[in-house]
């Protein structure tokens, strides 16, 4: 599933709700879904607030995929080059800087964060292994 979203907080939450819907349909455990939703909220908010500067006329894309045992979230925007995985390497003392809390949460709740700059786009891929779905009773 790929969503094209305008750079607003409401659109960020539209993506989060789509993820939650996808997770529930595939019976992902609620606890893991909470962490994934939080990671998506933080990364997409970062795109809206920093890369696209709250310009609602600009758009970014979110791709959501559920494989057998993993979730993939991919965000693409055409804002200035910014690698949040490098920002995460800031010392603890700087962790309260804007974005510092968000990336700390993302790192905690996903298994892998990969950044690439391709074709003038920031591409951020988050992956998380999820437990097998609960068997229907």
């Amino acid at each position: 599933m790929t969503l094209e979203l305008h750079a607003t907080p409401q659109e960020v939450m539209r993506a989060v709700e789509a993820l939650q819907q996808l997770g529930r349909e595939s019976r992902a455990p609620e606890r893991e879904l909470f962490g994934l939703a939080l990671a998506l909220e933080e990364c997409a908010s970062n795109v809206v607030n920093h890369a696209l500067q709250h310009d609602a006329s600009r758009t970014f894309r979110v791709r959501l995929e559920r494989a057998a045992d993993t979730f993939l979230i991919e965000l693409r925007d055409d804002g200035p080059e910014f690698d949040p995985t490098r920002a995460a390497a800031k010392p603890e003392a700087d962790a309260d800087a804007p974005g510092g809390w968000g990336i700390r949460l993302v790192r905690r709740y996903v298994d892998e964060i990969r950044y690439a700059r391709e074709g003038g786009e920031n591409i951020l891929r988050l992956t998380k292994r999820v437990s097998a779905p609960a068997q229907p009773v």
Partner: protein, 128 residues
């Protein structure tokens, strides 16, 4: 998911200055500004303490935590405090990861908070 905000003033027995803010739903990038807007008149008033009841809060992100951090700072400057009750485990985990609110008071429920406030009042009266 929307956020429902209910603000009640002076409901905690024995603590006339406290307001209780009950949050239902999601405190996120889209809803945090509304909470900030509704808290502004409370913070502009004479009350020193705010109790956040998070029993029905299902989701929180760093945008929501920043509202709590700003509220705590504003109350601390006037000798008050922000307290949290009925925090769900997934919300508490986010607080712990961020370590954003050192020294915050988290209570299991309203009864535990009331006991704390009564003890604080007792200590205050003894020291007068």
């Amino acid at each position: 998911m929307p956020l429902e905000i209910q603000i009640q003033k002076n409901v905690a027995a024995g603590d006339a200055g406290a307001a209780t803010v009950k949050l239902t739903g999601s405190l996120d990038t889209a809803t945090a500004p509304e909470l900030e807007r509704q808290l502004a008149p409370v913070l502009a008033g004479p009350g020193k303490d705010i109790v956040f009841d998070l029993a029905q809060l299902k989701f929180i992100s760093s945008a929501g935590l920043r509202v709590f951090a700003n509220t705590r700072k504003a109350l601390k400057e006037r000798g008050g405090q922000a307290s949290f009750i009925n925090m769900q485990p997934q919300i508490q985990e986010v607080f712990e990861i961020i370590k954003a609110l050192p020294g915050i008071r988290v209570f299991k429920d309203l009864a535990e908070l009331d006991r704390y406030l009564a003890a604080r009042q007792h200590s205050y009266e003894e020291n007068r």
